[in-house]
């Protein structure tokens, strides 16, 4: 009996009731400047896929075809909110918190290039890669027609019985050579390096 009275007294105290039914502070809102999931800014996406290529989480972002063009889509169940896609996008299609402000203030950027690698053990010197490469065909139209080239301006060509990479920097990363190669001997890798803006121009 005494314990019941004790409990009733305890639970009828105004302080206890107030504490039990009312929170001390309103639920905290996430500040707008925090890094959230990337959102679309409305700029036009050119489907360069830089965001997809730099994303460290698998299946977190996909650039999808819409009626009017391209549009990146973020999947929150996979996205780790690192903000790399926001930084990497050259068109400013994505935004999230203050990432771009910080990037602009510090003058940092991503510098990327393509690295071509031919595995001589797998390569059978058919030259499919050199002929199919759209940049090669544009530089040296003769290559597209006859399959042989003597130009030194092309990205790669068969020389001395093996594929030689002449101008790696001209590669646009379309991976046509990789898909055309019957032996999967050629690999296109996108290399990314974080740099200060001053360095990137050098």
């Amino acid at each position: 009996m005494r314990s019941i009275i004790y409990y009733l007294r305890e639970f009828l105290r105004p302080e206890w009731i107030r504490k039990f039914f009312f929170a001390k502070t309103a639920p905290l809102e996430t500040p707008s400047y925090f890094k959230g999931y990337p959102t679309l800014t409305g700029n036009e996406c050119t489907a360069c896929l830089s965001c997809m290529m730099i994303c460290p989480a698998p299946k977190a972002i996909a650039v999808l075809r819409t009626r009017d063009g391209w549009e990146p889509e973020i999947y929150p169940g996979h996205c780790i909110r690192c903000g790399l896609c926001v930084e990497a996008c050259p068109e400013g299609v994505l935004s999230s918190g203050r990432i771009l402000d910080v990037t602009r203030r510090d003058g940092t950027a991503f510098w990327s290039w393509y690295h071509l690698q031919v595995d001589d053990n797998l390569c059978m010197r058919c030259g499919n890669c050199c002929v199919s490469c759209p940049v090669n065909r544009e530089i040296d139209p003769q290559l597209a027609g006859s399959g042989t080239s003597s130009s030194d301006e092309v990205i790669m060509r068969v020389e001395g019985g093996r594929v030689r990479i002449l101008h790696e920097e001209k590669c646009t990363g379309c991976k046509t050579c990789e898909t055309q190669c019957p032996n999967r001997a050629i690999r296109v890798a996108r290399m990314v390096e974080g740099v200060q803006i001053g360095e990137a121009e050098v």
Binding site: A23, P27, L28, A57, P58, K59, I80
Partner: protein, 151 residues
């Protein structure tokens, strides 16, 4: 609805007991759950109490991509929680596996394969505010009129 039921609903909405289970996470989400307990977010002012005993819990927070050692134990823990109960997946890992969902890893997400998940809080890690909002929004739905919902 009887007055007794109304009182029960009100009291239950202010007394949510949470247990959390880490089924192989990187500790990021654990720290965010810990931050919920800290004075800045102070989860207890909303009537949410954290236990480590599933028999005392109403809500189970599942953290981490499911490692093989946890596959059967997660189900056991879920079975130990008395009704009404609800599970909330915290972070990307129990939802999708996140960065661990690659070929060659031993984890087998999602957690939904093993126990029913009522709510998912994506993020790597999710913010304490997001965790708080998820618990506060999912718990009343489960506990409201529990006696009347029974057959």
């Amino acid at each position: 609805m009887s007055i007794l039921q109304k009182i029960k609903n009100t009291v239950r909405s202010r007394s949510i007991h949470v247990a959390y289970v880490d089924v192989g996470s990187c500790n990021g989400c654990d720290i965010e759950v810990l931050a919920c307990l800290a004075p800045r977010y102070d989860i207890e002012q909303y009537g949410i109490y954290v236990h480590n005993n599933p028999r005392e819990a109403d809500v189970l927070l599942v953290i981490g991509s499911v490692t093989p050692q946890w596959v059967d134990k997660l189900r056991e823990i879920w079975d130990k929680i008395p009704d009404p109960k609800v599970a909330v997946a915290i972070g990307n890992c129990p939802i999708s596996g996140c960065v661990y969902a690659r070929r060659g890893t031993l984890t087998s997400p999602p957690a939904e394969k093993y126990i029913p998940i009522a709510a998912q809080v994506p993020g790597c890690p999710p913010r304490p505010t997001e965790i708080l909002n998820a618990i506060l929004s999912v718990a009343p739905l489960i506990f409201k009129d529990y006696e009347e919902k029974q057959p």
